[in-house]
């Protein structure tokens, strides 16, 4: 670390001057804080003043800046000094706005401010400006796994932006399921009739495009490396393998149609006249515009019924609980095949909820009605195969009627299952149970498993509403029906969106920049290997699979896979992991910097001044605290709050150190954990809760009450609740008394 020269700047604006003894703060900064330059300003964030700070950096060799003013969330642009570490001491939202403006409150409020100045000066001492590792270089080559309409679209869209693409397709041709469609649901106004499936056009674009290479009859047998330097083994059916390097990967492995043989109640397999939707596409293609004939005897179909949600939206065993989204429109489209080639054919759709959302959807539904397709709200119970005609037994929910309908053909609208490969979170199979081997899609050479983590029902969707492309394997994006049940139109958008993210990953990994949510962060953890005990906690707990283990069991870190959350830092029992600007020391030393008053034994009427350490997630808890300040919602003056990247980065040493140095309580504020977790780094909050449960032992050995440490799940909207939680801890301390460990 180059020798540090601290400049501390204290603002007197926004009431800070009136409420606080800023001279005292200045003397602390220059004294204990060892700030080389220290100034008070009436209006720190105004351009002229900011320019003066820049001048100190440029001319006075200031390389660490402490801003004693408002929250880090305010005036960010003003105090964003290039290549200089800045500590924002939150005197406004964090101190005067959460304290009453009264004489009796003054002292405690001032102490708060003084401690925060001490903490800020300490923090910058232990920070150094991050710089990229240069580990990656630009590799503008993108891999697309899967050559269906999604993969083809991703490839074409990426190449249009000037990138090289290789498509790996398992079968002998591109096109996937879309290629088997006679026509597709319209994607343009007037949304009235089926349109060409578009695969030929995509094929032509690809074969004419020198930037796109296609590997047919091939699979990925090994994927290692990291964004910017993925190394992938591509193996053909014949077994020959070539290895290529890629900057990023898109997984468009598509879906497998639900096996209609699991629906004997609908006579599938008993007669060829009962088909699933893909089966009907085949018949329509053969008929090619002429009236569709039924498979059993080639008779022109005069009446056909479509059974929606066949084996879907059902809790029966072997059925799918979810809705596949596209099937209503698909049946409508297929009913049109019949109507358009033979107006006298009766085509009826049996549904419970007709789902054609969006602008085009309802137009398409109306268009089908206009063409004479009829719709019946009802539940199919059974299809009985006959020699001449087949009978559908269903309940008509509108007429409240049990109906036996004779038809020539039945089409089952069955669902889609994602081709997502191995479920890496699946519990290990019990002894003796026969495991059906699942073929991996990516064969990732990651400690965390061969394929992409799954969200639900096997789909690899993102966990976040706002961030559909949030991925737990940096630089690898899934798109199309493998990610979520979807129709072709959505798959095309999804393919394009995934291509966008993949390109972004290529560009940013080359610059050593982190991906979302710490987009652009250049800091990355370094491992002091000589201290490492190969305990593997960092490799196990990394939510993004950034850390492998080398043959000796040492962590081998992949910078561009890393999301900079610090979970590894929090996990390390021997504290060998740290970031340039965020480390066990940069936080730990702040904790130590706080002045913990030692009660004067002799003085009877000395008031106890407890200290509470609060470590708050910077994504949700800290902003909520800010907004509490903005709304002047007060909390205890005894608390000292430190924002952390994620609760997962909290190393238990911070907690034990705090308690050892006389703090009376510790409050950890993280995000919601569990099934609907809100933690932006997946498991941070959960891991923290787990680690804290272990701290109890430490507490007992120090014979401290376990109430002194509390961990909470909070939301960014808990603007009123969080101050309350802090006050609760203050109350607890009042009840159980201050810590005995003050000396």
């Amino acid at each position: 670390m180059a020798d540090t020269k601290i400049g501390a700047y204290i603002c007197k604006g926004c009431g800070l001057g009136e409420r606080l003894d800023t001279d005292k703060l200045e003397s602390i900064a220059s004294g204990e804080g060892k700030a080389a330059i220290c100034r008070q300003e009436e209006f720190l964030c105004q351009q002229s003043t900011v320019d003066k700070i820049q001048a100190d950096i440029d001319n006075e060799g200031i390389n660490r800046v402490v801003i004693g003013a408002c929250s880090r969330r305010a005036k960010f642009e003003a105090f964003n000094f290039e290549s200089t570490c800045v500590s924002r001491v939150n005197l406004r939202e964090g101190v005067i706005w959460v304290r009453p403006d009264t004489e009796e409150a003054k002292e405690a409020t001032q102490e708060m401010a003084e401690d925060y100045i001490r903490m800020g000066c300490t923090e910058v001492k232990f920070m150094s400006p991050p710089s990229a590792s240069q580990e990656q270089s630009v590799n503008k080559h993108l891999l697309v796994v899967g050559g269906g309409i999604t993969g083809m679209t991703s490839a074409i869209e990426a190449s249009k932006a000037g990138y090289q693409v290789s498509i790996i397709e398992k079968t002998s041709q591109l096109g996937g399921v879309a290629g088997q469609l006679h026509r597709k649901v319209p994607s343009r106004m007037p949304y009235a009739s089926p349109q060409d499936n578009g695969i030929d056009d995509l094929n032509n674009q690809i074969s004419a495009n020198s930037n796109i290479t296609v590997y047919l009859n091939s699979t990925t047998t090994k994927t290692s490396g990291a964004p910017g330097r993925f190394s992938v083994d591509i193996t053909t059916e014949s077994g020959s393998t070539t290895t290529e390097n890629f900057g990023a990967i898109i997984q468009a492995s598509g879906f497998t149609p639900y096996d209609a043989n699991k629906l004997p109640e609908f006579a599938y397999g008993k007669t060829p006249d009962v088909v699933d939707q893909l089966g009907l596409e085949k018949l329509a293609q053969e008929a090619n515009g002429t009236p569709i004939k039924r498979p059993s005897d080639g008779k022109v179909v005069e009446n056909v019924m479509f059974i929606q949600c066949a084996g879907q939206r059902s809790d029966k065993e072997d059925h799918l609980s979810y809705c596949s989204g596209h099937c209503c429109s698909t049946s409508i489209k297929q009913a049109m095949y019949f109507k358009e080639s033979n107006p006298n054919c009766d085509a009826a759709v049996l549904y419970t909820d007709l789902r054609t959302p969006g602008a085009g959807g309802e137009d398409f539904y109306r268009s089908a009605q206009r063409k004479g397709v009829t719709f019946t709200k009802g539940i199919a119970k059974e299809v009985v195969a006959g020699d001449n005609q087949h009978t559908i037994k269903f309940t008509d929910l509108i007429l409240n009627d049990e109906v036996d309908l004779a038809v020539d053909m039945v089409v089952l609208a069955t669902g889609m299952l994602p081709n997502s490969g191995v479920n890496i979170d699946a519990p290990p199979a019990e002894e003796g149970s026969v495991e059906i081997p699942v073929e991996s899609i990516l064969n990732l050479d990651y400690r965390q498993g061969k394929d992409m983590p799954q969200l639900v029902h096997g789909f690899t969707d993102s966990h976040f509403i706002c961030f559909p492309y949030e991925t737990r394997r940096t630089g690898i994006y899934t798109a199309g029906p493998v990610r979520r049940p979807m129709d072709i139109n959505q798959a095309i958008d999804d393919a394009t969106g995934a291509a966008m993210k993949a390109i972004q990953a290529i560009e940013n990994s080359a610059l050593g920049k982190a991906a979302h949510p710490r987009s652009g962060d250049l800091s990355f953890p370094s491992f002091r290997m000589e201290g490492c005990t190969q305990c593997k906690r960092c490799t196990v707990e990394c939510p993004f699979g950034a850390i492998n283990e080398d043959e000796k069991g040492y962590p081998s870190y992949n910078e561009s896979r890393c999301r900079r959350c610090g979970t590894c830092m929090g996990a390390c029992p021997v504290r060998v992991i740290s970031f340039e600007n965020y480390s066990v020391d940069s936080v730990g030393q702040q904790i130590k910097a706080v002045n913990v008053p030692i009660p004067d034994e002799d003085d009877e009427n000395a008031v106890a001044k407890p200290r509470i350490l609060t470590l708050a997630c910077e994504n949700d808890a800290y902003p909520a605290l800010d907004m509490a300040g903005m709304n002047r919602i007060q909390h205890s003056a005894y608390v000292r709050i430190i924002p952390v990247r994620c609760l997962g980065s909290v190393n238990t040493i911070w907690v034990t150190d705090a308690l050892n140095s006389g703090y009376d309580g510790v409050v950890l504020l993280g995000c919601q954990k569990g099934e609907n977790y809100q933690c932006h780094f997946v498991k941070g909050s959960e891991i923290a809760h787990y680690r804290m449960s272990k701290v109890n032992d430490t507490l007992t050995t120090l014979n401290l009450e376990k109430e002194r440490v509390a961990t909470y799940e909070v939301a960014i909207t808990d603007i009123q609740r969080i101050p309350q939680l802090i006050d609760d801890m203050a109350k607890t301390i009042e009840d159980i008394g201050t810590s005995p460990l003050k000396f």
């Binding site: 009446n303 009766d346 007709l354 539904y365 109306r366 009605q369 206009r370 004479g372 009829t374 719709f375 019946t376 709200k377 008509d396 509108i398 007429l399 009627d401 109906v403």
Partner: protein
């Protein structure tokens, strides 16, 4: 008329919907219904319908020919047009109800003693006779449309109304003798005759 009914049954054996589309006023709209039920909920006489409009449409699709055509439901339509203005799918429901009623009548399937059917027929006969409605005759016919005994009862029951109308000069006994009429009755009747022929021809064509 009865045999027209059988012809129609023959022709449209497996699709009452097609029959309605071909032969009922505005019948081609029936297929556009999405079963939201806003019409059924909007009808002022709703509670008196065995089968509200949206249900009739579903029954038509389900081929419940007999039940639909012999139902008294569509005869409950007061022509208030609530259903039409609220229908999200633009179905001219009032007209379809009139159309179904007329078609049922044509096929001789109207339930016994359907009061509105009787009155509507009286009204038609009355107006087509002279080209203009003769309210007095219409009134009297109305009272007696359910037989002489009923007629006397009705007349007595409605006496006050009649007297009031006479007193206020809104009814005149002289209407019994001829009364209001258009001049060109011949042309008028020829026109209606022609219109009827054209319509019957269409139905016959479909029926054939």
């Amino acid at each position: 008329m009865g045999n027209l009914n059988t012809t129609m049954i023959e022709k449209y054996r497996n699709s009452f919907l097609h029959e309605v589309e071909a032969n009922v006023e505005e019948g081609e709209w029936v297929k556009m219904c999405m079963q939201c039920g806003v019409c059924s909920g909007s009808c002022p006489l709703g509670p008196h319908w065995d089968h509200p409009p949206q249900e009739l449409f579903m029954m038509i699709r389900a081929g419940k020919r007999e039940e639909v055509l012999t139902s008294s439901s569509m005869w409950m339509c007061t022509s208030c047009y609530n259903c039409i203005v609220r229908c999200p799918r633009e179905l001219p429901i009032t007209h379809i109800m009139h159309g179904l009623a007329h078609y049922a009548k044509r096929l001789g399937l109207v339930p016994e003693n359907q009061q509105t059917e009787k009155f509507a027929q009286l009204f038609w006969d009355n107006l087509t006779n002279t080209g203009r409605v003769n309210e007095l005759k219409l009134g009297l016919k109305l009272y007696f449309m359910n037989g002489f005994g009923e007629g006397i009862k009705m007349s007595l029951k409605m006496q006050d109304v009649g007297l009031n109308m006479l007193k206020t000069g809104r009814m005149s006994p002289f209407e019994l003798l001829g009364g209001h009429s258009i001049k060109d009755k011949t042309g008028f009747h020829a026109m209606l005759q022609k219109a009827k022929e054209l319509e019957d021809a269409k139905i016959a064509k479909h029926g054939a």
